[in-house]
Amino acid sequence: MATQTAGPAGARDPAAVSETSLGPSAHLTAADRVELLRAMLLMRAIEARALTLYRQGRVPGSFYDGFGQEAVSVGAAFAMSPQDRLCILHRDLGAHLVRGVAPPRILAQYMGRASGVTGGRDGNVHFGDPALGCVPMVSMLPDMMCVAAGMAMAFKLRGEPRVALTFFGDGSTSRGDFHEAMNWAGVQRLPVVFVLENNQYAYSTPLSKQFAVDPVERARMYGFPGVTVDGNDVEAVFETVRAARSRALAGEGPTLVEAVTMRMHGHAAHDDMRYVPPELLAEWAERDPIERQERRAASLGVDVEALRAEVEAEVDAAAAEALAGQMPDPANAAHGVFAVGAPQPLGDGRAPWSGFAAEPATAVRDPLSAGAGTDGGEQRPAEATV
């Protein structure tokens, strides 16, 4: 797959991108394709509900969403196995849904409830459920590129067929951690997939003020491929990340996947986006990732309206459950700063893609863990160097 060349300034042209996209994947069953749609619908419905809750004053702080970008996180996460590890960002709720985070915990998270994923210790999508193989993001972007590279480094050292993946945005590519992680991953040929979610704006800053050379072109300079994909085509994103993962497992090193998309809402709920030309939004609205996948599902004979209603009902129930949850106990605010005792290892995530059902379950086991999860376990004497 060739690296696409883009002009140095201005928004990426979605029409040009779609010409290089892979399109529907041969690796997806009909059930997979519906599952992708379902996850995107769920992400949008949860975020719409959370925005309502925010406007009702039930969500403290601000509220960030990924409206219009659902295909990126859902498609990428769908390509990851249970034992793969992810660092998911704040516009990537769909990846958490694919990995198995239950919607009531997400809505409770937004509202700072005890039953939220972080129990009120962090807000928004600033979380990762360790039990599902996810490491929580921090707001300094793209710090998690280094963390993902480190996970991949451990997998490679231990000879485990596993991959790490992280997301980050176009603005992130200006920071030093982007360079350090890209260079490190290239030097060590690490099994890591970097998903650059190019949504045209970093807060109010357009691409033309962010970089002179498109980041996907830089990948080659670090010694590995950069691939551009239509970020509004969930199947194309899946297929591209699936291929990048296979490449990583084959020992061929990292891939930078640039998913070109559009942030259809403001940076956060307070942002009226006056800096975005309306015609740009109109153009991207025509390319809505959910509508595209709905057309595919309909062609498979799926009752899309029924699926939407099912998802809405799930979110209704999730909201009711989240609203019934307690706020956290202030007496615990200072607890848990330090870990005590043996670390609780990361667990394995849900991996609904049918392709994993065919893989032997024993294929990926951490040789260092004696009966515990994939990562960690009790200390064992070193019988051989890894």
Partner: protein, 323 residues
């Protein structure tokens, strides 16, 4: 018990843990083929291989960040910053990623970041700093600063086995200058203070290289026969409040020494602690000896003018004893 330098004791701790636990991994700039800028990891790559003794790119943020990643999937990385000063380039990964992950998610980040720190030999503004207070102010990070070979080995062993991010300050001026008996095998030194010398009339509270300066400055000949206690903090986070308050109760006169810049230094926290909890037991003002708030200059007379000297510590003790 064998005698080792401070540096040899640190090497010994690393070697023993690498042998005992295959999750342990040493990473940093020039730690492999060259054996480290100070030769702490000399010979390691031959014994443990390039995978576990990893020469990294010159990238402090990525050294700390990839260590975090390796740690959360079951490794026990020990990172070396070539000089403590360079940790500024990895500060964000340490403070925001490593330090806050457990509180936010319950996910432990067992990494050690070794910081060759301190001045006294014309390292200049960027090879002489004592950045411990940066990390004391950042929740979720333990901060250790041993002064003896025995404690250096035992505390580094404890740090590697600890489930939290640990910043380990090893004073460069102690590396080859300080020798002492070190137990064979592996052992953990508790993250508590240690009485370096018992005394009755006054206490000097210090850590790292300043423990040695304090001991030298407070021999009976130096302080008109007074009996001076020296408390070696060893650990700054956690800080041994009990030991600090106990020595205040015992001697009632306190001199606190930091090689770090004075404002908000570890000693400032110790002084605040004493003022708040032991005011009634003081028999004189708390005295502080520290480096003024200037970058560490290069030229010997300039550097010696700012670093706490044996004479400054001695004079502070004499003044307070006469109070």
């Amino acid at each position: 018990m064998p005698t080792m330098t401070y540096l040899e004791a640190i090497s010994d701790a690393l070697r023993q843990e690498l042998r005992a636990d295959e999750r342990v991994l040493v990473m940093g700039e020039d730690v492999g083929a060259f054996g480290g800028a100070f030769k702490v990891t000399d010979g390691f790559v031959e014994e443990f291989g390039e995978g576990r003794v990893m020469d990294t790119p010159l990238a402090e943020a990525a050294i700390v960040g990839t260590a975090v990643g390796a740690a959360v999937v079951g490794m026990r990385p020990v990172c070396e910053m070539q000089f403590a000063d360079f940790v500024a380039c990895g500060f964000d990964q340490l403070v925001n990623v490593a330090g806050k992950t457990h509180y936010r998610s319950g996910l432990a980040v067992p990494i050690v970041v070794r910081l060759p720190s301190g001045g006294g030999f014309s390292g200049g503004p960027f090879h002489s700093q004592n950045p411990e207070a940066w990390f004391m102010h950042a929740p979720g990070i333990k901060v250790l600063a041993p002064s003896t070979p025995e404690d250096a080995k035992g505390l580094l062993t404890a740090a590697i086995r600890d489930p939290n991010p640990v910043v380990f300050l090893e004073h460069k001026h102690l590396y080859r200058r300080i020798k002492g008996e070190v137990p064979v095998g592996t052992y953990e030194t508790p993250m508590t203070a240690r009485l370096a010398r018992e005394g009755e009339d006054l206490t000097v509270i210090a850590y790292g290289a300043m423990v040695h300066a304090a001991l030298e400055a407070t021999t009976p000949e130096q302080v008109d026969g007074a009996s001076v206690e020296v408390l070696d903090l060893r650990s700054l986070v956690p800080l041994d409040t009990e030991a600090i308050l106990a020595t205040v109760a015992k001697t009632s006169k306190i001199v606190i020494v930091d090689e770090a810049n004075e404002t908000c230094a570890a000693g400032a926290q110790v002084a605040a602690l004493i003022a708040e909890h032991a005011f009634e037991q003081l028999d004189g003002p708390i005295r502080r000896v520290a480096t003024p708030d200037v970058p560490i200059p290069f030229s010997p007379p300039l550097e010696q003018a700012v670093l706490p000297s044996v004479e400054r510590i001695r004079d502070a003790c004499r003044d307070l004893l006469a109070y």
